[in-house]
């Protein structure tokens, strides 16, 4: 008799939870922030106003076919990883600034050797150089870092130029390296930012 009485109490408890999307999943994710109001699978897309989420639903349409193996209630954009409980990179993931500087110097020097500034070609040259540097940074063993590589190249014509940058980041883990090289008729400034992301 006691067993039977306990059932209705459980049902009432569930009914009193705030029901945003009227699905069972809400009770599982009830303690998350307001992120769970985003549509989580295809059936919910129709209930939202078309103009605000049209772009979002188009993207999901395209991705739908490749996501058959992922459970339906996982939102790809806001995937929640488990807490690593790390405050800073551990030793095998710490990035060596000397390494970054050495590699950067090597790549830039080999690229700029015997380079004549050519206005038609310069655009390609700078983008290729930044992509080469990014490729080399990806080969480094530390895999928790995001990289931003900024290349600035110009012609030397007795003009003045100043490049400044400021960053808002974590002082302990994030670093940057700047490399400046000059040839007869052009100068090259490369800045590589390495940001730790958990």
């Amino acid at each position: 008799k006691i067993h039977r009485d306990s059932l209705p109490r459980i049902l009432n408890h569930r009914d009193s939870l705030p029901r945003k999307n009227s699905t069972h999943r809400d009770s599982l994710y009830g303690n998350l922030t307001q992120r769970d109001s985003l549509p989580r699978n295809s059936t919910q897309r129709d209930s939202l106003p078309r103009n605000s989420t049209h772009r979002l639903s188009l993207g999901r349409n395209r991705r739908q076919s490749s996501m058959n193996s992922i459970p339906r209630n996982l939102d790809r954009r806001f995937i929640r990883y488990e807490n690593t409980f790390r405050m800073e990179p551990d030793d095998d993931r710490r990035i060596e600034i000397a390494n970054v500087k050495r590699i950067g110097n090597l790549v830039v020097e080999s690229a700029i050797k015997d380079y004549q500034y050519d206005p038609n070609n310069a655009k390609l040259f700078t983008s290729r150089l930044s992509e080469q540097l990014r490729y080399h940074m990806k080969q480094l063993p530390s895999n928790r870092f995001k990289y931003v590589i900024h290349v600035c190249m110009g012609q030397k014509q007795n003009q003045d130029l100043r490049v400044t940058s400021r960053c808002l980041w974590d002082l302990k883990c994030d670093r940057h390296v700047t490399i400046v090289k000059e040839t007869k008729d052009c100068y090259l400034t490369v800045t590589i930012f390495c940001i730790y992301s958990e």
């Binding site: 990289y147 003009q159 100043r162 940058s165 808002l168 940001i195």
Partner: protein, 110 residues
Amino acid sequence: MDDINETSFVVDEVSNVIKESIEATIGSQSYQQAKINTWTSNIVEAILNSLTKLNKPFKYIVSCVIMQKNGAGLHTASSCFWDNSTDGSCTVRWENKTMYCIVSVFGLSI
């Protein structure tokens, strides 16, 4: 969708912030070699301050290039290794009669 705005990089907002900071610092000035140092620092710091006031969970990198107009060519490129859905960048080119100014802001989500 408020959620998307809060956790991904919104280019328009940031671009407005950058334009305002540039106009406020060097809007009507001519190139002066003595002041260029303070100008670049002021622009970059003003942008960073306004970005922090947006209260988003982002790390920012702000980079500013100011060049005197002399007929010389200038090219900038940047390549980034990040998470495409949450991180983004915004570059603003501005000029007046005597100088060019290029400001890039990169936002990386925490």
